[in-house]
């Protein structure tokens, strides 16, 4: 499908109507006398009293592949078609801190995302995009501080004031040790680096979210909705404690903490998970940390719909799955939603499948009417009961982690990693035995497997890796080496001094066109590398 054949997104639909189809006005929310209303502590029913009536969620589609030019083209396409926030996928060498020509990068350059090995690539990715007007989310953790520094440097170069930048870096290293695997440094220096990014961001880019504490990956790896929320909240508390150790003001930084989850298929359980999470977080912020500013007690979150709930068998069935999950996210009160394409289980989405994923959100937002009243399931006997039970179970899992000695210890010992592996094995066995139903796969499977239609297949360009390496070679030959060396020396000095925030040095390294690999190597020399506890 070519870009020209798609309708333009310029014709914006009206906001969700505030009346029924038969003309009766609908209140923004319905809360009988004496019951908790949306926008009211502890925010079980949502953080805003007007919900999606005043502001729809952000439609955030994850994209980015191959070279910077290809990614820039895809972003222009998505923005022209109604995407309201970009979400940048980076390749594994960028995520793990290796340059494209490193021996560790073999076969991985430009594969699962775009290579952003230096400011040259970031400038290309965001060429002709006005950073003061778009919100950009980066799924980046091990090298989050560096990629964020690069984004700030692009804004500097475009002449966009830093305070206008909006977006998010995931920057949640704790779950990387447990489930996603893009760790670089040991736990302690990693926690310092995260505190540095948050404190720098609060000051320099106050509208930017410097962390998105993510449960998504442990969920996708195998654990339950309860464990997903429990581990994520526990990680959130670890970051709060770290920031307090740096002398930061919780009433201020807690406003910029945000969360990120998967939505799987059990609609009511998912809604209950989000309602319980909002309530637990607000209470912890108020009671444990004495936070008085309500905005700093609010639990804001984005979601992914799809992930491991999608199948490679009969992939078109995934469109139905993603629709149900998106409904759950909306009724749970998500601030931003990413919908997986139906082919995401086995390939990088094509423009065709990516468009259906976006249209799914638009249909729910503009045709279904679910956004007409806040927390539409609030007061349902079942959902309120389920919310209470979910909360109880989440608190139990959090208490067991405390008993173990906290998340940092559980990670360094490999305990949490083992828990996830066991949960994953149990989930797989349930699917194998037929206890968990997956339509089209373990039940109602197609008799003739040759009839399975996988749809159009995305072809990655086999020359991408070589082209990216070529760009790196050119950069190494043309940049000012003395400037690079002095910027890296300044970074090293900052890294060796715990009281100094390393962010300014990282931004300077980016401006000097130092590579991600060079910055990471400098930091490894100071801080060492994480030793993965391999425990089975």
């Amino acid at each position: 499908m070519s870009i020209e054949t798609l309708d333009s997104g310029l014709n914006q639909p009206p906001h969700p109507r505030s009346e029924t189809s038969f003309g009766v006005p609908i209140p923004a929310f319905i809360a009988p006398e004496g019951t908790e209303a949306p926008g009211q502590y502890p925010f079980t029913r949502g953080i805003f009293p007007t919900g999606y009536r005043s502001k729809l969620w952000t439609f955030r589609q994850y994209s980015g592949f191959g070279s910077a030019e290809e990614t820039n083209e895809r972003y222009k396409f998505l923005l022209d078609n109604g995407t309201t926030g970009l979400s940048v996928a980076l390749d594994l060498p960028t995520q793990c801190g290796y340059d494209p020509d490193d021996v560790m990068s073999l076969g991985e350059v430009g594969k699962v995302g775009v290579s952003m090995f230096s400011l040259t690539e970031a400038e290309t990715v965001f060429r002709d995009l006005d950073l003061s007007r778009i919100s950009t989310s980066f799924t980046i953790n091990g090298t989050a501080a560096i990629i964020y520094a690069m984004y700030v440097a692009v804004a500097d170069k475009q002449g966009v004031p830093r305070e206008k930048l909006t977006g998010t870096i995931q920057n949640d290293i704790l779950k990387e040790y447990v489930a996603r695997g893009t760790w670089i440094f040991p736990v302690r220096p990693s926690m310092r680096l995260i505190a540095d990014t948050i404190l720098f961001s609060n000051k320099e880019t106050p509208r930017f979210n410097p962390i998105s504490i993510a449960g998504a990956h442990v969920r996708d790896a195998g654990c339950s909705a309860v464990e997903e929320m429990a581990y994520t909240l526990a990680n959130g508390l670890a970051y709060v404690d770290e920031l307090l150790r740096h002398g930061a003001d919780a009433n201020s930084f807690a406003k910029r903490l945000s969360f990120f989850f998967y939505v799987h298929m059990d609609l009511f359980e998912e809604v209950a998970k989000f309602r319980a999470g909002r309530r637990i977080w607000a209470r912890l912020m108020k009671e444990r940390y004495g936070i008085t500013d309500e905005k700093a007690q609010m639990f804001r979150f984005g979601v992914v719909c799809g992930g491991s709930s999608l199948t490679g068998v009969q992939p078109y069935n995934n469109i139905a799955r993603v629709s149900i999950e998106t409904m759950a996210a909306v009724m749970g009160g998500a601030q931003s939603i990413f919908t997986c394409a139906y082919d995401e289980a086995f390939q990088i989405p094509t423009e065709f499948s990516a468009e259906i994923a976006l249209r799914t959100q638009q249909i729910i937002a503009h045709e279904s009417g679910v956004g007409k009243s806040v927390d539409p399931l609030g007061g349902s006997h079942y959902v309120e009961w389920l919310t209470d039970k979910t909360e109880e179970e989440i608190l139990k899992v959090m208490a067991s982690l405390d008993t173990y000695g906290g998340v940092e210890k559980a990670i360094e010992d490999g305990y949490l990693q083992m828990r996830i592996a066991e949960a994953a094995l149990a989930r797989k066995r349930k699917k194998d035995s037929g206890e968990t139903v997956v339509v089209g796969e373990n039940y109602f499977a197609h008799q003739d497997s040759s009839a399975v239609d996988y749809g159009e297949v995305f072809k990655s360009d086999p020359t991408t890796e070589a082209r990216i390496r070529e760009r790196l070679m050119t950069l190494r030959k043309t940049r000012d080496q003395a400037k690079v060396a002095s910027a890296l020396a300044a970074l090293e000095a900052a890294a060796r001094t715990p009281a100094v925030n390393v962010m300014s040095s990282l931004v300077e390294c980016c401006h000097a066109y130092a590579t991600v690999g060079e910055m990471v190597t400098t930091l490894k020399d100071c801080w060492g590398e994480f030793a993965e506890p391999v425990r089975l």
């Binding site: 594994l92 695997g181 199948t311 990655s460 089975l536």
Partner: protein
Amino acid sequence: MSKLHGKRIVIAKPGLDGHDVGAKIISLTLRDAGADVIYTGLRKTPDYIARVAIDEGADALGLSILSGSHNALVAATMDALRRLGGTDIKVFLGGTIPAEDHQGLKDLGIAAIYTAEMKLNDVVSSLAEKLG
């Protein structure tokens, strides 16, 4: 279940892909089936993996790759096994491997490809049969 009793199997994660759940599920399953399992952990180079498989006297080596970099990493691992003297080790592959790549990977010497949809019991039976 001890279909794999006495077999030594190395499970490895080549490249930078951090999705290790599949590798761990398979490691635990093969151990339950009686095999001695050695899991390498994340981010290992093809040379390192080949060296471990040879030093451990492995009957089989399982590679788990979900990042789409399987063609390059499998070729490099098979090459390392040849160079270091491990051609008698049977090599299996798991992860996100598109059907169109299967033949090419088998041509490189991969004995079997196991994807996420396969039942664990079937994976064990297939391995037991191929390892004799």
